[in-house]
């Protein structure tokens, strides 16, 4: 195959919530930046959100990826320009100040000031147009709000990174990376190489010299650079580092927000196939929170699958059904392991006993919430689940639920290269530089020391800005 060589000041690997803001700041500071993105550029609006076609084009492995364990935890990763910001629900949460303070103390992260992070979050919010809906929420979202109100549970509307040309929330346009930081980086001269997979980093002592990449079609190339920022997400970042021989405290501490689901049927047609509810119930946060999932008919069928013989008749009523989730802040941990000879890393996750109990009580409480909101039938997603129609039947969930029988999944992955000055636990220093290396950095969800208990992409972007600015002032002159 032809070999083409590229040169740049900084190579940014990955173009999602970590990589895109990093690249924009560097390019605007006058650095010569290349962004290597494994996936394709897909224009927003060219695929239906949450559809199988979207999974084919914008998700890694068609959206079928699993952290092995008992039970296994299904997860998804974006694999396209913009990464996960292109495919998720666009719901935004500012980094919780108490969580930031905890990270600073427990992982000995220097110069991590919750107020500074708050300020950076405001900057992110302005850039990506974080705002509430301009009009009424969808019916599945309103049901969540109604159930919480009737129970007296804390709830709120999660703002989204959307702009709204009209007062109709359905006309919203997601302000993901392909509409915000990536165009900014391009205007400032950054080069985006799509369908370009970085196989490994070529090292020389404590420095990265170049990256070996392969384009779709098999063309290989080498990218020489003065510094590398790996921003490929909490699974691919540690996998690339391990493939390149960097292993100390890399990939050992995967943290996620495991979720379990149920389908709820109402006495009206309320299904919105291509959107998700914005209301979230936070009465038991940060341990446990409730929200709504994508609910197109294929996903309704999936939610009914575990107890298909009993629930199958409901599938024809999918217009009256919406899918909801209970998410927990897990105390379990997982691993990402790059196995020599295999293209993809092996991922594992272990739920603790407390996690399992929390998933059980979470599913039961979620069912209660939906019954209060007017659901006529609730179908929990686990083998042996009962069809629940009254409060009295909720006890059956407590009796029969087992995490190992459930469809556990997550979309929030982090903490595989935790940052901090605790060299026994942290793979990177307080600003993302890999311990022991002079010009190798991580700047994505991998750095978050643990799962923040809320959607982590706001935290990822704020910390990415923090670390990128620190690099420009403190590191770049030396590399």
């Amino acid at each position: 195959m032809t070999t083409t060589d590229y040169r740049c000041d900084v190579l940014v690997i990955g173009s999602g919530a970590g990589g895109a803001p990093t690249a924009a700041l560097f390019a605007e500071a006058g650095l010569d930046v290349i962004i290597a993105e494994e996936g394709p550029w897909v224009d927003q609006g060219s695929v239906v959100p949450f559809s199988l076609e979207q999974m084919d084009r914008q998700y890694r492995s068609g959206g079928v990826t699993v952290a092995l364990g008992l039970p296994s935890v299904a997860y998804t990763e974006g694999r396209c320009a913009g990464g996960g910001t292109e495919i998720n629900s666009g719901l935004y949460r500012r980094p919780p100040q108490d969580v930031v303070a905890r990270w600073r103390e427990r992982w000995r992260i220097d110069e991590l000031d919750p107020d500074d992070i708050d300020e950076l979050a405001r900057e992110v919010e302005a850039e990506i147009s974080v705002q509430p809906l301009p009009g009424p929420a969808s019916a599945p979202s309103e049901r969540l709000r109604l159930g919480a109100e009737r129970l007296g549970w804390t709830h709120d509307e999660s703002p989204r990174w959307m702009t709204y040309p009209t007062s109709d929330p359905r006309q919203g346009q997601r302000q993901s990376m392909t509409r915000t930081y990536l165009p900014r980086s391009s205007r400032a001269g950054a080069r985006l190489l799509t369908e370009c997979r970085v196989d490994r980093l070529e090292m020389s002592a404590d420095r990265v010299r170049s990256a070996s990449v392969e384009f779709v079609g098999g063309r290989r190339a080498s990218i020489s650079c003065r510094a590398v920022f790996v921003c490929a997400g909490a699974i691919q970042t540690p996998a690339l580092l391990q493939r390149s021989g960097v292993r100390r405290n890399i990939g050992h501490s995967l943290a996620v927000h495991p979720t379990v689901k149920l389908a709820a049927r109402f006495d009206e047609e309320l299904n919105v196939p291509d959107d998700v509810p914005v209301h979230q119930v936070k009465e038991f946060a940060p341990d446990l929170s409730f929200g709504g999932s994508a609910s197109h008919p294929g996903l309704v069928a999936l939610a009914l699958l575990d107890q298909w013989e009993d629930f199958r008749d409901a599938v024809t009523a999918w217009r009256e059904i919406a899918v909801y989730y209970a998410a927990i802040t897990s105390q379990g941990r997982g691993r990402v392991i790059a196995v020599p000879g295999l293209r993809d890393p092996v991922v594992t996750y272990h739920l603790t006993r407390r996690d399992r109990a929390l998933l059980r009580s979470g599913l039961s409480r979620l069912a209660l919430l939906l019954l209060e909101s007017g659901a006529t039938e609730v179908y929990p997603s686990y083998r042996g689940a009962p069809r629940v129609t009254t409060r009295r039947e909720l006890a059956k969930i407590e009796e029969t639920f087992s995490a190992s029988r459930a469809s556990v999944m997550t979309v929030h992955l982090c903490s595989t290269v935790p940052m901090g000055e605790d060299h026994d636990r942290c793979g990177a220093n307080s600003h993302g530089r890999i311990h022991g290396f002079k010009n190798l950095f991580v700047n994505d969800a991998s750095l978050l020391p643990d799962a923040p208990g809320v959607n982590p992409q706001g935290s990822v972007m704020a910390i990415a800005l923090r670390n990128a600015r620190h690099f420009l002032t403190a590191e770049w002159p030396r590399v």
Binding site: S51, L52, S61, G62, V64, T65, V66, L70, S72, H296, P297, G298, L299, V300, A301, L302, L305, W308, R312, D313, V315, T316, W318, V339, G341, L342, R343, D344, P345, V346, R383, R405
Partner: protein, 110 residues
């Protein structure tokens, strides 16, 4: 390292669909089987290897003992093998109801 072809899942997928959704037309069933086969072909390498290995074992059972044994096996909550059947059904059902949302629980059209 490339994984073996996942074509081995095809016959078992046919068996499960014929049992679970007896009214699904042969043409649609063929489309679903092809979709499942292609999707399994895009799994991460280690998963594809595992699925293929289990697939050969299940296919052996199908050939030796017939379709009914495979269907009975698919109902048992066995580790790994249970996940294999669940994967096939998940992909199949998601495809069917996304592509043809009015499909009845038996796979037919209203």
């Amino acid at each position: 390292m490339s994984a073996p072809s996942p074509a081995v899942v095809g016959p078992v997928c046919e068996v499960l669909l014929s049992h679970d959704l007896p009214d699904l037309s042969p043409e649609r069933r063929a489309l679903v089987v092809e979709f499942v086969r292609l999707r399994i072909g895009t799994l991460p390498t280690h998963m594809r290897l595992g699925v293929t290995a289990i697939g050969f074992a299940v296919e052996g059972i199908r050939r030796a003992f017939g379709h009914d044994r495979v269907v009975r096996l698919s109902r048992r909550p066995l580790p790994l093998i249970g996940e294999y059947f669940r994967l096939i059904r998940s992909l199949s059902y998601a495809y069917i109801w996304e592509t043809w949302p009015t499909t009845t629980p038996d796979g037919g059209q209203p």
